[in-house]
């Protein structure tokens, strides 16, 4: 579902920019990585997104100081589209290339082969 963000009466213009994602951003889901860094936030993000239908727009929130470098690199490697970024907010489209393969918006789950024993 698309979430709406409206400033409350107590928000000043400055705190609004810091505490809320840009009003013009539309997204379906939200992932808050908090202050987690490096592989921890990446593996959590990866597993969170796995069941999402292609084309899902996701708001990422991260206070990791490396996030402005990390998320663009991750999007390039995984072929997700980074639509916009205004740290600590990042707007991505999940697997846009898969939309043609899955026109009905079905999620594509990666094939997790059991390890040999």
């Amino acid at each position: 579902m698309t979430q709406e963000h409206s400033p409350t009466p107590s928000d000043s213009p400055n705190t609004f920019r810091e505490e809320m994602p840009p009003q013009e951003w539309n997204f379906d889901e939200e992932f808050d990585g908090g202050e987690e860094t490096c592989g921890r936030v990446i593996i959590n993000l990866y597993t969170y997104l796995l069941p999402m239908p292609p084309g899902t727009k996701v708001l990422l929130i991260s206070k990791d100081p490396a996030a402005p470098i990390e998320f663009p690199a991750w999007c390039r490697m995984t072929r997700n589209t980074l639509l916009d970024m205004r740290p600590p907010y990042y707007l991505i489209e999940y697997k846009p290339e898969w939309k043609k393969e899955q026109p009905h918006g079905e999620p594509i789950l990666r094939d997790h082969q059991p390890l040999p024993h």
């Binding site: 202050e35 987690e36 860094t37 490096c38 592989g39 921890r40 990446i42 593996i43 959590n44 993000l45 990866y46 597993t47 690199a73 991750w74 490697m77 995984t78 990666r110 997790h112 082969q113 390890l115 040999p116 024993h117």
Partner: protein, 121 residues
């Protein structure tokens, strides 16, 4: 860009910091959709020995080693464990956690020969 990645880890009891960071980077690789293999050798084999990872917790901002290993395996990551390194320590496949597989140099060489990058801890 290669779709495979390798992390070799040669510490556990000797240096929990390095063991932890190795798994953090492996999680970053697996989470970036690289088919990722961790190769545990020398003291690093203890990372995959039942009951050993629970002893390693470097504290914030790092997660406990056991949690990092579980996330890596659940995300589809592979853990290979050096067979002679196990034998030298009186260990066997029966001592390993689920998801860890005994392997030798040929498995490592084949993996690296497919052109992935490798980082060592």
């Amino acid at each position: 860009m290669a779709n495979r990645f390798c992390v070799t880890i040669s510490h556990c009891r000797t240096d929990g910091d390095k063991a932890t960071l190795g798994f953090v980077v492996a999680n970053a690789a697996q989470g970036s959709e690289k088919e990722t293999m961790i190769f545990l050798s020398t003291d690093g084999v203890y990372c995959a020995v039942n009951g050993e990872a629970e002893k390693i917790d470097e504290g914030a901002p790092f997660a406990p080693l056991k949690e990092l290993i579980t996330k890596f395996v659940n995300a589809g990551g592979k853990i290979y464990v050096c067979t002679p390194c196990l034998k030298k320590r009186g260990l066997s496949e029966a001592d390993l956690i689920e998801g860890a597989v005994p392997a030798g140099g040929a498995a490592l060489v084949e993996w690296l020969s497919a052109d992935p990058a490798c980082v060592a801890y």
